[in-house]
Symmetry: C2
Subunit: 775 residues, 2 copies
């Protein structure tokens, strides 16, 4: 099923006719509009459609048929604008056949709205409420029409009201004549009425305004690339290389899809202007419940209407407290007890670092000026602010930033990919000593079966490598203040799936190695060690900004490692993809490190909009809905997508002694599946199939909603590689009526869905990708 | 006039009865509810009020009377809950006597809502639309009641619909009997109907649910301080010193006021629980159009409904482009041509610094690793992220931050205050050489009359001091990448009003001193110098996060200095105080410094929610509305508040030769006033009066919506001073039925309004402040 396209044509004016109530005259007004058009334009290019009556609008599925109809009309109307009026059924929230109400049903079409107001007693209220119901779904209401009722004169009030709310014109016609006794008089009387009503100046004015608005909208869309190219300074973009034609003009977005201006439409009036594009980066990894989700909108608007924003220092409001409580409970990490809010992942990671460094410094008694470093992984990335960048090793992201001053040691680590049909842990040179260069597993679940794998020699090998490294660093006199990891997947660093066993080993070794971090006698005796949530070695920070909150299929990515960090950072999906918000969650001993009678010992960090009510309320709604999706089994289709052990093709990957867990824990994937441990919306068959396209692909993995394909690049991998661009381009070309917007990270192509992306959509994307790989 | 208090009592249940339409049976249902209460509770404690019919609800002004009535009832109902039902008039958006619609009119009361649904044809739509109109104004709808119409059965659909939208219970009763022929039968029939309807189980269930929700709400409010104290990590707060009783529990906010839990109500059931508190820090300087402004809510919801958030790299959407265009036009700075979006002032300042440093480095040919510094003012503050902190000199905000590494030279500078009735520019030791220690002016307008003052010796003196300092720095071999200033006022650094002439001199000298910054021959010949917007010397960054967008009375604070920066940062008021957003605006030559064929030369900065549609749309609405307020003369009362020259008391401050501009430009304040240059919502009389309370006050200034009073502190000033706390405490005690929340910065007490704060409110605050100073 192809996604819905918004309806916009150069030579066809399409409007939705909504009613503020039933029985307000929608059909009468639509007929008048049609007559008025016929008087002004060509009669045979005016159309009037009632999608519900005609069997369309069963659900948004059927909009493709509507698309075809509008295309047919647009082609007929080549020499002048045709007009198509879509009359909705009942009031704005009257349920359609599927139960979805009109206002939601027609949202993806985004045709401008003519709202037929209510001229009766109480009609002012009905008209404004209808206007708002449409507005909060992103509809553009371009005219309000109602009968010129001289008793209530609702139009007088409404004219002023809408004038100050977007200058929406309000126009009236006299009401239709009273019903006649016989049918033929009735018909004659109505014909005469329509003739005169459609001749009124007001109607001509409205038509002109609607036509002008449509022209303005199209002209604006046509001009936006160039204007953006000249006025916007784009994030993370070498704009010298960004020609205007490569800028996507996004008219709206709904569910998984943007509605993007089709540049080819500019040279052909026979093409629709807008084309759906799958949001394959989930808008920089933020989207969960789909674009323009009405429940998130309503949550945001409720908080805006209840609080606006209220300052948070020394104050508390319900959404901030409730969100803190929800996070602490659902993260399931008994160490965590405190929530600090900020505005995005970068600032949240800076807060985490400030927390970790202070805790370590006070524990180990170092002076404030002492140079402290971070332990991390090569290629890790924690955001773009300078402090967050300093947590990463020198790389393309920071090497030219004037104030970059990386402070840390970054470990090599083994990574996981499916290569030529085999789930493989590849060990880098630095670790190879006694680990060999790669290990193969029966399934991704086996890789994540840490209960078994921690009993393996590989785990001891990892720990030995880590310990030896820490001892060398200690001998060099370097001082570390925190271990900071993106659990499971390194995002911006190249979509790398790290061997979870290695991250587990790293945390365990660091926690067991206090002696390697204290360079002087501890200033405060570690009495806090008795505390259940006390930290040892170094504070462990997990940056779950990308990996957490169901992106990898679970509320917390840490749970995939079976590790409880001391500090955990959450953003992106936190608000389901609507507004910026970040929560840095910490343990009580970390918090206690800032306690003092001196206010300058406090964590002196805080942004103006800290814990803004809109963000917190949206996060509450979003997290609750994702939990509810989980509980309702909404992802069962994905879990059954080959990821369950029962569906694992027997023995396919067990080829050698290097296959681990094949017999001893052949059913471990079963165990993990039953825990919901590892699964993906991308089917296992597809992933393993991709991994066998060895001429183009060097490896692939999928977890949760993420798929990452490492493309072969003879010139080497890394951020500057262009190897993945051709796959990206193929998806951008798409499948005729729609395409997919994706991003690449050097030689890694990745694509991800939201938490409501359905099976059919995933299958279509899989087919597109395989088409390219087979070409 | 006292501000409205939300109505919440321990022993009185107050509900608003809204109708989904006229003629849906609001009065019938309210009567049934009253009868049901009487059956269950004491009859004499049930009340039914129609504010419109009783002459209340002329406008929110009259809510104080309603408060008094509810207080009276609450006192009567000492031994058990009383019930008060407030029946609204017509539908949710039926206009009240003043023209404001019901949904907006009752917002500040925030009594929970019983929505009477529409059982008729089309009633599903009416009921949902009404629900949403209430919800987006922050109302809590706790029950939906409607007639059990067996033809349409709207309640069946609505029950499911509201179950999945907040579990709102939907209950029905049978419709009232048909009208009888005579009055007495009618009465008997209705009495019997009410008796039976109010006995239905469903009604008892609803009453129980309403009662339970009220108890839960109160219990939650009572517990929030302690819970917050245990789960929240507060920004910028030494939490060891923050006892739970000092945490403000904010139930909602409206206009200038929070609704805060009155802790004294916990020991007395005779006290209302909520008390209005003036938001005297404008919620950390963010508020412009008032809390919970319905127009901003609708703008936010529209963008959420149209886009959600769409990723911004290589894409454009209407709100982001329109906002960029508006900013570029209205900042009125011909140098600026590019808008970079981020999430808050800190990140926006980091972006500005990255821009400035790169431009200087490429111009002057320095290597990437070279240590570059910032020129700034002592006490300047640009945010809490580490990179932003590094732009400030060592101080209480950063001295204990482990990775703080201040990189800059920070100038001393003269400040402006009214002291003992005189507008005085105080010159610090470093500049005194030939400038004396202070200069007095006839008015604040004279201080800002830079056209005259740049012709003075003082200007030359400033420039000489700056030049000499730059030469010394040059001789020391230090390299600078940008001049970064908060124009006019240093915010977090202590609410210091800097002599505008000094900032003007600083910019002019830096721009004229290229030879003092280039330490090697320029790598690229300065051909760009021919460009009208080219920079010379150093890129000039203005951090207008606090000072811009009408906080000081003008769209741009730079315009008060007559200076056009190369980079300008805007946040806080940008979104009128609703959600985080920041815009860093730059010139084309700055932008061009990142142009290259290598993508790693790009400005590699960008947050997930960069240019989020909700923020951009709200900013558009907010800025347009503030401009419209300006154009409509909404601040004329403030401009006439003694700030106009005509109202300057003649000669009062012209006492000596040190008075500048008294004769030569005695009318310059007139000129400036006509330009709208300097004015404040705080009256000049009041400010000058405060400045004469010499036992407590060392100086005071007011500009735009800001008032800052430096309190005398024998122990010295600065961030750690507690001198201003007593004034803060006095305002927190307030005036009986309301109080004011303010913040202090060491010995500086400050308070500010929003851009819609009215004269009466300001006058009440002025009276409170004078009361304290006179005590």
């Amino acid at each position: 099923m192809a996604p819905t396209s918004s309806i916009l044509w150069r030579n066809l004016r399409v409007h939705q006719i909504y009613g503020a109530n039933t029985d307000v005259g929608k059909t009468v007004f639509t007929t008048i509009l049609c007559n008025a058009v016929a008087k002004r334009y060509k009669r045979d290019q005016t159309f009037f459609l009632k999608p519900v009556s005609t069997g369309l609008a069963q659900e948004s599925d059927s909009w493709s048929l509507l698309s075809a109809i509008s295309e047919h009309i647009a082609r007929r109307a080549e020499h002048g604008p045709g007009w198509l009026f879509l009359e909705t059924a009942g009031g704005v929230h009257s349920p359609g056949p599927s139960g979805t109400t009109q206002a939601d049903l027609y949202t993806p079409l985004r045709a401008p709205v003519v709202l037929v107001g209510d001229a009766k007693l109480g009609g002012i209220s009905q008209t404004i409420a209808a206007f708002e119901a449409l507005k909060i779904r992103g509809h553009d209401i371009e005219a309000v029409l109602l009968f010129r009722d001289l008793e209530y004169k609702n139009y007088v009030y409404l004219r002023d009201y809408f004038q100050t709310r977007g200058h929406v014109p309000v126009e009236t016609v006299s009401p239709p004549p009273a019903q006649c006794e016989d049918d033929s008089s009735e018909t004659a009387s109505m014909l005469s009425y329509y003739d005169s009503a459609s001749s009124e100046d007001g109607m001509a004015g409205i038509l002109h305004a609607l036509d002008q608005r449509a022209k303005d909208r199209i002209a604006r869309l046509d001009s936006m690339r160039d204007k953006a190219s000249n006025t916007i300074w784009y994030p993370f973009t070498q704009q010298k290389l960004l020609t205007p034609d490569r800028i996507s003009v996004i008219d709206s977005a709904h569910g998984d899809y943007f509605q993007v201006l089709d540049s080819e439409s500019q040279s052909s009036s026979n093409r629709p202007l807008l084309k759906p594009a799958f949001d394959g980066s989930a808008s920089w990894w933020t989207q969960g419940l789909g674009h323009a989700n009405p429940q998130l909108t309503l949550a945001a608007a409720y908080a805006a209407g209840r609080y606006g924003h209220v300052m948070f220092a020394e104050a508390i409001h319900e959404p901030a407290l409730a969100l803190a409580e929800l996070l602490l409970k659902e993260l399931g990490n008994p160490r965590l007890s405190r929530v600090f809010y900020s505005d995005n992942g970068s600032t949240g990671c800076e807060v985490a670092v400030k927390m970790g460094l202070r805790a370590a410094r006070t524990r180990y008694g170092w002076a404030p000026g002492e140079r402290l470093e971070i332990l991390g992984l090569k290629g890790s990335y924690h955001g773009d602010t300078m402090g967050a960048m300093d947590c990463s090793q020198p790389c393309a992201f920071n090497e030219k930033v004037e104030w970059y001053d990386g402070k840390g040691f970054w470990f090599d680590y083994p990574t996981v990919q499916c290569t030529n049909g085999k789930w493989t842990v590849a060990v880098p040179d630095a670790l190879r000593n006694d680990l060999g260069d790669s290990t193969q597993f029966a399934s991704l679940s086996s890789v994540f079966d840490l209960d078994s794998r921690t009993r393996d020699g590989q785990f001891e090998g990892y720990k030995r490598y880590i310990s030896e490294t820490l001892e060398q660093l200690h001998d060099q006199g370097r001082r570390f203040g925190a271990l900071m990891l993106e659990p499971v997947v390194l995002g911006a660093g190249g979509m790398l799936l790290v061997d979870p066993l290695f991250q587990r080993a790293l945390v365990e070794v660091v926690r067991a190695s206090s002696h390697l971090f204290e360079t002087t006698a501890p200033s405060s005796p570690p009495t806090s060690d008795e505390h259940a949530s006390s930290w040892s070695g170094l504070p462990v920070i997990f940056d779950e900004v990308f990996t957490g909150l169901y992106r990898l299929g679970r509320f917390s990515a840490a749970s995939l490692l079976g590790v409880n960090p001391d500090i955990s950072v959450h953003a992106k999906l936190l608000t389901g993809g609507l507004v910026p918000l970040c929560a840095t969650v910490a343990s009580e001993p970390i918090f206690a490190a800032f306690a003092s009678d001196d206010k300058s010992d406090a964590l002196l960090h805080g942004h103006s909009y800290t814990a803004h009510a809109v963000g917190c309320q949206v996060a509450l709604e979003s997290l609750s809905e994702m939990q509810s999706l989980d509980a309702r089994g909404a992802w069962d289709w994905a879990k059954a997508n080959g990821w369950s052990a029962a569906q694992t093709p027997p023995d396919t990957t067990m080829t050698a002694a290097s296959v681990i867990n094949s017999s001893s824990s052949g059913d471990s994937s079963d165990v993990n599946y039953s825990k919901g441990l590892v699964w993906s919306i991308w089917s296992r068959d597809f992933v393993e199939n991709v991994s066998q396209k060895m001429d183009k692909v060097s490896g692939v993995w999928a977890l949760g909603s993420v798929l990452a394909i490492s493309m072969r690049d003879e010139k080497g991998s890394g951020y500057k590689s262009n190897a993945a661009v051709s796959l990206r381009t193929a998806l951008h070309k798409g499948a005729g009526s729609w395409n997919a917007h994706t991003r690449v990270l050097g030689n890694v192509f990745y694509v991800m869905g939201g938490q409501k992306t359905d099976k059919e959509t995933v299958e279509e994307l899989q087919a597109l990708i395989l088409d390219f790989l087979d070409s």
